[in-house]
Amino acid sequence: MKNKSLLSGRNIALFVIVLIAGVVPVFLKDQYMMGLLTSILIYAALASAWNIIGGMAGQLDLAVAAYVGLGAYTMGTLLIRWNITPWIGMIIGGLVAMGFAVLIGFPLFGFKITGLWYTLTSSALVMVLQKVFLMWDSVGGATERYLPVDPKYPFYSMKYVQNPYLLLYYIILAILVIVIFVNYRIRASKLGYSLLALGEDEDAVQVLGVNSQFAKIKALMIYAFIAGVIGTIYAMNFGYVHPSYFNPDMSTEVAILGIVGGMGITFGPVVAAIFLVSLKEFLRAYLGGNLPGLYMVAYAVILILVVLFQPRGITVMFQTYYQKIISKFGVKKDG
């Protein structure tokens, strides 16, 4: 392979980053910072999952909050009603989100709804589900439903009262690593190549023997499953489930992370999430009292700047610098 050395270099970098991320909580006792880090990882993982449908397949999907909410409510209902552990609820939540994605995906892609229409449909999906869960009293309803914690078995209810973020932090870190790995694998497989190509021209891909409809549904299913699983962590993080989880703003944020990071680039969304989510929390903490929602303005400005000056994403910018530094040190660059 052309860039095997680069690949292993990247793997080492990934390993080091994960190691650092794994050790950080040992030294970090500040609960606020732990909450922030967990939040960054949640968004990074969501944006990485979005990368499959948004970055590779080129469908500007705004439905991530729908799958997050479905995952959260599935896990929450199982836990509240039948006291089923979130560890199982997590998987079932993902499966429910995936099943819903199949239900949506077949008519959507069957009728060849792409581009702007796909974006609008996916966005509407979030709002529809929000209203459904607002009115569905036996599962949702307008008040928060708190997730019970059994103090005797904190591991079973996935929450340690003294240090609520620690376990969630490690779970979401593991999920993020898995998502990146999945991204990698898809990118290097037939599905990845098909998705990248069909994102550019669907007719042209079909005459090359690719069942584009099936490829898109596969991508949607993988993405929805991951988003559903992350949704359960998102709910555990807050400690309750509420219809506000079906939040169109969240969908937009995740899509922005994906675009700013670089469409179709595996590490792009992670890099973008580290920058933008920290920025968001910073703006919220220091200016939130006076100017709530300012972070969306900042996001918008950054998005415009990126689209204008670095349309392939900020990660490409870093890669270019990286290449320059490498070539300066006289390491032979291939390709």
Partner: protein
Amino acid sequence: MDNQPMLQVSNVTVQFGSLLAVNDVSLEIHRGEILGLIGPNGAGKTTTFNALTGLVMPSSGKVLFKNVDITNMLPYKRCQLGMSRTFQVIRAFNNMVVEDAVRVGAYNRHGESTVKNKVNEVVEFCELGPLRHRLCGDLGLAALRRVELARALATEPELLLLDETGAGLNPAELTAFMNLLKKINLDGNITLCVVEHVMQMVMGVCSRIVVLDSGEVIAKGSPAEISIDPKVIEAYLGKRVPKCY
């Protein structure tokens, strides 16, 4: 050449609303030949082409490929059967590098273990070696035509349909492209059907020609026969009128 044609088109009609784009067209493509499909602007060449490759469904008529009825088959299934095409307007994967674009096609008949060899083989064959790591979006027209051809070849078709591949090429590029087509036909043992405007190319490579005008077949035959057929001359240049001064 066996007696059974590779592609048998019988009485295909394509109608868009009240417009009869293709009217009762019948033609056949035999194994091993290079068939040229020509005609003046608006004659229905591209629509016929789209009907053969599944991007447009015929209103009536039948298309048989290797004795399989493919009239209403989706394009990707036709490709799996052994038929691929290129487009008149370049449909490049602008953000993919050349070898990745070829790889999309190569997956049609190859798994992960052999797909790389196939890509290398096709890239060599189409003389795209120096360009293989370039982004398709950065390439010029002549190179993109080659990439599109390579992409289609990577699917290992038995029948390859090329839509106006000569358009916009300069004479040197055209000659190189014609040689490539002949190489594909002879060395690759692939049957070709070319829709073409550029007469130099049609006369240079085709072994048989079908002429369309106003959605109908007006003549069939060898290049030499076609070039003196009065109906064809009329379709291209108009009727000879008596001098009226």
